[in-house]
Amino acid sequence: MSEAYAVELERVVKKFGEVVAVNGISLGVRDGEFFSLLGPSGCGKTTTLRLIAGFEMPTSGSVRIYGEEQGYLPPYQRPVNTVFQNYALFPHMTVAQNVAFGLEMKKVPKEEIKRRVAEALELVRLTGKENRRPKQLSGGQKQRVALARALVNRPKVLLLDEPLGALDLKLRKAMQSELKALQERVGITFIYVTHDQEEALVMSDRIAVMNEGNVLQVGTPEEIYEQPQNRFVADFIGKTNFIPGKVVMLSGEAADVRLEDGTVVAAARPEALGVSAGEQVVLSIRPEKIYIAPHGDKPLVPDADALTHAVGQLQKVFFVGVERRYIVALPDGTEVEVRVQNTDRGARRCRVGDRVSLYWRRAHARLLKE
């Protein structure tokens, strides 16, 4: 590849006995990027991180860090550092000793160690806690010691394995923005493993969505959310509706799909998706991308006439503060969720049991394989 990657995986396979944890993935993480590996537990994201760190050796394939083949290099010879899930602070050492550990191992002069430890602790706002033991720290503080202990070594790449997983929700939100700001300040490439899709969306420059040992899609948070390439990605990230149908017309990115009840609606075909007319597919439409109106009414948007249209029966309405959620049953029984901001007056006239009209733009209905 021509582009200079910080970390590059090429057809990496990792098997544990018969179990394939990582199934031949190829990835390129750019220099200075906040890159997330996102997926459900058991999808191989942590194994991938451990392959980069050197805790696992690939069964086959190549792992390169700034162009250098890591091969079977042990973790202590790789220019990366890890922030572990449960911090993994050394309980028999003080905060300062923990942070100094890597520098001591690298035989950095004593004076410099002292200075850099102080700097690192300042960076994570833990100055004054040097002589505490890990046991005397709160979860958030331990987290920051773990960060300082890794960052003090000035690694080329920092690997983070669900570092916020053990924190409570409020602290996690605070640490998310703190971590992101820190990454921008130090300019180090971060590879971040998480199963929390919101966390990945908020923090990352790019995300790789993984499942069952494969990378399903790599892209910016917006691409991943707006243009999912397959059903798993669409389903895993955010909430989405799947409506089954059959392709009746294909023209470039545009496609028309006949729903089970015969209605023909507009949809968009992702570039990479190879489908042909007559094929059974599903439409993936985000609930906030659908307009709802009493049967026959048009939604109050300028391009209302250009929207595609389907009819259903309103089953339930949930009020959740900022929005209302409408559950609509299509004639074939498929339930569709529609989320409407509380400012939309047209939607509010819909009553449970009524026939209602659903509208969406072509680009928002993504054609995906069954």
């Binding site: 805790f55 973790p75 202590y76 993994a88 028999h92 191992m105 690298k106 033991r133 070594n153």
Partner: protein, 299 residues
Amino acid sequence: MSDANLARALSRRSRMAKLKKRLSEGLFSGYGFLGYLFLYLPIIILVIFSFNDSRSTAQWAGFTTRWYVAMAKDHQIILSLWNSLFVAVVSTVISVIIGTLAALAMERYRFWGKLMMDAVLYLPIIIPDIAMAIMLLIFFDLSGVGFEPWKVHFFGVHLAVPYSVIIGHVAFNISFVAVVVRARLAQMDMVLEEAAQDLYADPWRTFWRVTFPMLLPGIVGGALLAFTLSMDDFVITFFTSGAGFNTLPVRVFSMIKKGVTPKINAVSTLMLLFSLVLVAISLILSRGGSEEGPSTPTL
């Protein structure tokens, strides 16, 4: 019912509950007390009669410390004490090293025949002492190792300790050390070792900077256990020592054959005191270990 009445009734009820609680507590602590009495009465009697001013061990005839003086003057006893200490120290050092390595191997690595090793490692804990003693006796006899003494001189003490006794003690101590150290290892999070490696520590330095300090309470506990068991052992020593070698328990046994004297009580009391001190040390160490973690040894 008026508020005042209600309050009075309630307070009466709570007083009854308190009384009941105190009664049952008293009853239970009474049971506990009896249990301890059953366990410790013989020991208390043993200690008391070591101060008895009479050759009889049945009747109290006033306080004396002469049996302790007599014990200190008995060269046979002093020599056997040295023998015991020497065997205990040497066998503890050897079995701590081998036992710790065995525990590390069993807990951290996979290798061929591990399952069998796992079962065999704990065999000496399970099989009766006498069986082990006879096994060792036959082994030393048949293998030609024999009962050659190791001659040692220090501080004007001259000892002749058969290698066979030391080997015998090591043979059973390894298991105990391995069990204790392995328990500690199992509690230890392996991710700490990964963290050390991630921070550029090679396996050697990972061991000395992280694994070993965290393991230390287990190793010390294992060592104290091995030391105590070695000091206490009679059966295996008796069978593997050949002729004319006495550790303290073996010496006491041969003294008893000539009748129990308060001198034996005095020896036993001292051994008891010694064991108590060891137990106290191990308790203090293990408690300190769990709260603070041992300090980093400087290398």
